[in-house]
Amino acid sequence: MIRIEDVRKHFGSVAAVDGVSFTAENGAITGLLGPNGAGKTTTLRMLYAVMAPDSGQIHVDDIDAVASPQTAQARLGVLPDGFGLYPRLTAREHLEYFGALHDMGGAHLARRIDELLDLLDMRGIADRRTAGFSHGERTKVALARALVHDPQNVLLDEPTNGLDVMSTRAVRAIVGRLRDEGRCVLFSSHVMQEVSALCDSIVVMSRGKVAAVGSPDDLRRQTGHDNLEDAFVKLADRRRRPSA
């Protein structure tokens, strides 16, 4: 479970994240929805402790992520914006590296890697260097790398960005499966359909603030739009021009 309360982050005079609070439950997929520049990535970066908030509280499974970032990180699986693979290492070596950094090793790690290779249908590319991988293959490696230590909480920053239909479906299937296993899944997207199809709960962000929280149906009701996309536009717009 992930809980953030009144988190703020400024870059110079710009308030990138301006008092954001929400909770992502276990056994549920929480979508962080918003246009580009809404503060989604910054919020996630503070969550997985590579950025420190100016103020506010972040808890991962009741661990204070600001005070003990490494303990929180051990319970997080993260797919950051842009995968950042090593072109000269094979897919398997990526998993071995990150597994080792999570204190895994030996037969235990080997078994877990086999599991993930099967789960993500990566057997064919496991021992190839990632230099020539397609976008879909790179996504799989990055996703497997995020899951290697079997984390309770999974953060995905725009995981389906730029993926073809088949790969997008594969990622969605994994995300659904992670929820069914009782994990807390938080994923960001600016794609309406994806979020409405997948998420149990949606946090709409705009201009560094939370514009609305609720299930897809809640949001439709709140805005009076049947179409979720219209609802989203209205919410984002309301933030932009509060007087209107």
Binding site: A49, V50, M51, P69, P80, D81, Y86, D103, A146
Partner: protein
């Protein structure tokens, strides 16, 4: 417990960086080139010097007008390593056009003046601007001077005067530089090449694993792993250090192998690169490599892009090169305070060791202590940089 874990994670990072860089063909070639270029250049230079030395010892003297001084020619023929031949008609032109290194011309009036006990002219035609023939010219002049002195002594004896009377001074040359020191003068470049090889060896990992890692976007996922930032920095620095030390050792070994192949003993020169001196070389080179790798990692982490980091490396390269260049202009040896200067201290340890007088423990300790202290300081700075959001995400 957490300390042990941090060390283990640094080792994991180090292993990954080494494995990654071993697969970087282009980087490996550049390291290999920097390791080999030094020994190859030295071998080439030494071979030329040795050849010239031999040329001077086995000298062919073209003489114009041999029949005018048969006694002198006979005497020259009897000297070891001397061959006499008929000189070219136009001696000055032959030397100017570099057909001959040195020509001796005996003028027509030689026999007449010689018989009258007047100074008989012998002309030595040589080109003083040519380095490659200087030794031969010197040899010829020395031979003629010896002959002149012998004849002079004989003439004095005939006149009932002791030759000692015209030798108020007996000049004795006492050469204080040992053979090894002379070798070091010629081979001052070896320490510089060892240092440069160490620098280039670590450079690739130091830049690729910091500035390169960020540019590829893999720094952010890496830092999501639950390890202290110091572990990441230490691991990357350690990998760069291993590569640096490896290159330095390889260059040293190649130089050692090379000096075995070269007929250095013929020059009265020997270079200390045997197994017993190898240990001293390592004592000087290892702290240096640790320090340069840390310096490279810090500078690369601070630079805005991989390219910028690489151009800074070009500037930093002056570090291991300057001491060698300065020392060739202002020869200096180990003293405690000079050894305390980073880079220069290591250079002095290396050059003194290679010239056969390894400095004492105090000098080694001073140099190592300074290098270690700077290394620790630089690692701290880099760790702080790794905590900075500006650095992690670029500006």
């Amino acid at each position: 417990m957490t300390g042990l874990r941090a060390v283990r994670q640094a080792a994991i990072v180090c292993r990954k960086e080494l494995r990654d860089s071993l697969r970087d063909r282009r980087a490996l070639w550049s390291i290999l080139f920097s390791v080999i270029i030094g020994p190859v250049l030295i071998g080439f230079m030494m071979n030329r010097i040795i050849d010239r030395q031999r040329e001077a010892e086995n000298v062919v003297i073209p003489i114009v007008g041999m029949n005018r001084a048969p006694a002198l020619v006979d005497w020259l023929r009897q000297q070891a390593g001397v061959t006499v031949e008929e000189g070219p008609a136009d001696a000055e032109r032959a030397v100017k056009e570099r057909r001959e290194a040195v020509v001796v011309v005996i003028p027509e009036n030689f026999a007449e003046r010689f018989a009258d006990s007047k100074p008989a002219t012998v002309r030595v035609v040589a080109d003083g601007s040519r380095n490659d023939t200087r030794a031969q010219g010197e040899r010829v002049r020395r031979l003629l001077a010896v002959y002149a002195a012998e004849i002079g002594s004989l003439r004095l004896i005939v006149r009932g005067v002791s030759p000692a009377a015209v030798r108020p001074l007996a000049i004795e040359d006492v050469e204080v530089s040992t053979a090894q020191q002379r070798a070091a003068q010629i081979l001052t470049f070896i320490p510089m090449f060892i240092m440069v090889a160490g620098f280039v060896g670590g450079m690739q990992i130091a830049t690729d694993s910091t500035a390169g890692e960020r540019e590829r976007g893999s720094l952010e996922p890496l830092l999501v792993n639950p390890a202290p930032r110091a572990s990441f920095v230490t691991g990357k620095w350690l990998a760069a250090s291993v590569a640096a030390i490896g290159s330095a050792i390889l260059t040293t070994a190649l130089c050692a192998q090379l000096t075995k192949l070269l007929p250095l003993e013929d020059m009265g020169v020997s270079l200390r690169l045997g197994p017993d001196y190898f240990g001293y070389v390592l004592l000087a080179a290892i702290p240096l490599c640790l320090f340069t790798a840390a310096l490279q990692a810090t500078v690369a982490t601070m630079s805005r892009s991989f390219k910028e980091a690489q151009s800074y490396m070009g500037v930093l390269m002056l570090g291991p090169m300057l001491p060698g260049l300065v020392a060739s202009l202002y020869p200096m040896g180990s003293t405690l305070w000079l050894n305390g200067i980073p880079m220069l201290g290591s250079f002095l340890l290396l050059s003194d060791t290679l010239s056969g007088r390894p400095p004492g423990a105090a000098e080694f300790l001073t140099s190592a202590a300074v290098s270690f202290a700077l290394t620790v300081g630089l690692l701290r700075v880099t760790t702080r940089l790794f905590r900075s959001e500006h650095i992690i995400f670029g500006r």
